[in-house]
């Protein structure tokens, strides 16, 4: 029992050091931390969801939350409570989003006979010439993510499916795309 506790403490101590290094911009340490966290996060998500099919998506959401919250960790504090609070909140949000999505979706038999529109047939937002030019200047992966989610107004899951990537990866691309768009549009202002 006490060996297990010591082992857990040692592991969390190492994660704390890796996170502190990551906060200082050490990318290899940060990557190692995220990789080490995968197994316990997967086990945690599995215990909460009980559905192996959605564990990957939820773990990716947890990783994104950890990334967005990384500035809120202080190395003098224990790493475990910080990590598991973020994981629990991200899993709760994922479960909530999934139940909302399920409530909105139609049963498959009600969709029979309806052809799925192509991306081009779906409603699109009109873009100003400046925004169009800024969008064209983005790297292809980021442009595709922004276009699918905000020009064609697809959900994250639909956009990820069309782009052939995970929802988490699509969110990262879209987020980087928005940042680049903001910078590009701010530069254009007189």
């Amino acid at each position: 029992m006490s060996e297990e506790r010591d082992e857990r403490r040692a592991r969390e101590g190492r994660w704390s050091e890796l996170m502190a290094a990551g906060q200082d911009g050490d990318a290899p340490a940060y990557e190692q931390l995220l990789r080490e966290l995968l197994i316990p996060l997967r086990a945690f998500a599995m215990s909460r969801l009980g559905d192996p099919a959605s564990v990957d998506d939820v773990v990716q959401n947890v990783l994104l939350s950890i990334h967005r919250a990384r500035h809120s960790y202080r190395p003098e504090r224990p790493f475990g409570p910080w990590l598991w609070t973020i994981a629990r909140n991200a899993v709760t949000d994922s479960l909530r989003a999934r139940s909302t999505r399920l409530r909105r979706e139609l049963p498959i038999d009600e969709l029979e006979g309806i052809d799925e529109p192509s991306v081009e047939q779906q409603p699109q937002l009109a873009l100003s010439p400046a925004l169009r030019a800024a969008l064209d200047g983005l790297p292809p992966a980021q442009r595709q993510a922004v276009e699918l989610m905000h020009v064609h107004q697809l959900s994250v899951a639909e956009a990820a499916e069309r782009a052939g990537v995970s929802p988490g990866a699509l969110k990262v691309r879209a987020h980087r795309g928005y940042k680049a768009l903001r910078v590009a549009l701010a530069d254009e202002k007189p």
Partner: protein
């Protein structure tokens, strides 16, 4: 590991920039407490003590109300600080428990005041221009420390930010009601209950909305930078 999770990890680590850590909770707590105490002291000096508190022997109903407001204020500030940074569940739970205890005490205090109406004390009107002044004063005393907690929330990573801002704002309005209770000269029971003891539920809600807008503004700026 699936290929997409692997690519996500690589994408998150690529070009990683250093980040500025949030300040330690105890430092923000000390700063907020100092700010709140200084504001309350300035308010008391400016407005002066009323007759009830000048002799420092007010009736028990006042002490019940003050204990309730103090407990609510400390609990709200603790819950706001705890919920700004992940991993502080015991602090949040303790803060919420103190808020609930404080709310019960303020309700008990209100009941003790209202019970005096039947004993012939002046009930007064439920709403007067003076109520607006007292509610405004409670908010005024709360603003500096509540704004500090809102700034901290915008720097941190609250899971339910509207709740984090609410804890801090309502708690500090309760604290702001203390110098108001100790300085206002009105003896109208309805005024004391509505504009002093229950200030967190009246003035607090308005200030919560204002500080929530401030939070949203700060957060959107932060995400743009």
């Amino acid at each position: 590991m699936s290929r997409s999770t692997d690519s996500l990890i690589r994408e998150l680590s690529r070009g990683l920039q250093p980040v500025r850590r949030v300040p330690p909770l105890h430092r923000v707590a000390a700063l907020a407490a100092a700010l709140a105490l200084a504001t309350a002291a300035i308010a008391l000096v400016t407005w002066g003590l009323n007759e009830t508190f000048r002799g420092l022997n007010p009736e028990p109903r006042y002490w019940v109300a003050i204990a309730g407001l103090l407990s609510f204020a400390a609990g709200g500030a603790a819950a706001a600080l705890g919920s700004t940074v992940p991993g502080n569940d015991p602090l949040i739970r303790g803060g919420v428990a103190a808020m609930v205890a404080g709310a019960m005490l303020t309700l008990l205090g209100s009941a003790l005041f209202l019970a005096r109406i039947s004993a012939g004390e002046p009930a007064g009107s439920f709403w007067s221009a003076l109520s607006l002044v007292c509610l405004g004063r409670s908010s005024l005393v709360a603003i500096p420390a509540a704004a500090l907690l809102t700034l901290f929330a915008a720097r941190g990573f609250p899971h339910r930010p509207w709740l984090t801002v609410g804890f801090g704002t309502l708690g500090l309005v309760a604290f702001g009601a203390l110098p108001v209770t100790m300085s206002c000269g009105s003896e109208s029971i309805f005024h004391i209950v509505f504009a002093h003891v229950l200030a967190p539920a009246t003035a607090g809600l308005g200030l919560w909305a204002v500080l929530w807008l401030l939070y949203a503004l700060l957060r959107s700026r932060r995400e743009q930078s």
